[in-house]
């Protein structure tokens, strides 16, 4: 059992975490304008609808690396055994500027470049709890 912080699903995010547990990446999509938002909000950040009725919609999980950092110190519990690790800032292919940040599971000895293709992977943290991360596309 990991000591890493576990996500606490709320009324809005529960479908995201249910899908993640099945290793499916979803992103909140506004029912009014069809644009994706990460994270979701109470007002759609694109069309400004105050009734966005966001639906967590499965996405391809594919994206490109916009930036990265090598984490050498953990400020949260449960990461010490994984140090150092890489965090990647990823733009998903579904929409310009739709960005997610997660661990790159390929390890630190990876020759990374902006624009490298990645695909979502999942880390199983506890029974029924998985969080998104990324892997380089081969």
């Amino acid at each position: 059992m990991t000591e890493r912080p576990l996500p606490v699903p709320d009324e809005a995010s529960a479908p995201f975490w249910s899908a993640a547990a099945e290793h499916v990446l979803t992103v909140a999509r506004c029912a009014q304008c069809g644009q994706f938002s990460m994270p979701p909000d109470v007002v759609c950040p694109h069309c400004r609808s105050s009734d966005p009725r966001f639906e967590f919609t499965p996405v391809s999980g594919r994206g490109t690396v916009r930036s990265w950092t090598v984490v050498r110190q953990a400020f949260l519990p449960g990461f010490d055994d994984d140090l150092p690790f890489v965090l990647v800032d990823v733009e998903l292919v579904e929409q310009k500027e739709l960005r997610l940040v997660g661990r790159l599971l390929d390890g630190v000895n990876t020759d990374l470049h902006v624009g490298d293709a990645v695909v979502v992977g999942f880390e199983d943290l506890a029974p029924g709890v998985a969080v998104p991360a990324f892997e380089l596309s081969r």
Partner: protein, 400 residues
Amino acid sequence: MSGRFAASNKVAIVGYAHSQVLRHGDRTLGVQAVETARAAIADAGLGLEQIDGFVSSSLLPSAGGQAAEDGVSTVSSAWLAQHLGAEPRYVAGFDGIGQITGSVGIAVNAIASGAADYVLFHRALHNPAGRYHANPMRQAHGPMQWTAPQGFFGPLAMIALPYNEYLQRYGARRESMAAVAVEARKNGARIPWSYWHDRPLSADEYLQAPMLFDPVCRYDCDIPVDGVAAFVFTSAERGKDLPHPPVYIAGYAAGAPAHRRLPLHWPLDDIIDGGAQTARRLWANAGITAAQVDLPQVYDGFSPFVWLWLEVLGFCPPGEAHRFVESGGIDSDRPDALPALSGGGALGNGRMHGIPQMLECYLQLARRAGDRQRDRATIGLACHSSPHFGGAVVYSAEAF
């Protein structure tokens, strides 16, 4: 509608005080704040009974999730007014990002509107026991659920991502950042109250420092400290009769990020584009251009902010700040350079937020900088936080 601030140069700083900056204060933060406030009021030639406004910001900028205790780990204006025994007409705090520039705006507005005649402005910063950003969180609620379980947490990750994005985009090297840290520490070493007084940093020390979140190394981060600064604001008119030359506030601007992002996700383009808007509003508000500023004090709580502010304010072309700084462009000892960290900044003083920038503008423009006094210091500019989220204030030695 004119963009110029209606109260431009109608409000001034007329006195100040600054505590010693220590890694851990030997007395409670509130005690230090009370004494520093009294010293600032006296420095302005005033008595407590004349102070009718109190303005501050009191965020404890740690990711550690500590419960803030007023008077101990933070000091609010209400706490300070009560413990001084003042009877203020106006008390306010700024709770956004860019705490110093944001709260200066509130102080200026309070004077300009007549809500108060003399405002005591302060900032008290505390270094809690234990690792500054360590957080024992086992459950990630609310906005944090989208980042913390994934390992994305804390201000070092926040700055490391756009910093690396900058390096990759412009072909810059992290080694070039040594010039920023060395310049800040050179100037901070000359300041008696600085945590780094008499302790400059060499480029070699910078390059050998441990990496924390690549490309961020230890000396790219200001060191957490205990310290208090206080300033007195009043109208330009009333300021004329006080002991020290008034330093006018010509204008100010704050960032307003356009994009909703994950918590602490500050992509490079958000900073650059948002910063350009901050700069545009600043010049319009103050009624000047970048070319008129002879004392720009850019924010440096994390060293990459120095490059970013220099570029968004137009002091060097986009993508060029790394070369500009490395070739001596901000060397405060070169007469032809831009003294952008002459006050030592946060890297050279300790984590006093944007206070070192503000104080350097005040001291130089009031001609109270002592041995460090610069010949040319007419219009200063003090930044705080990131260009897209924080803000900047223009100070002037003359009401123009």
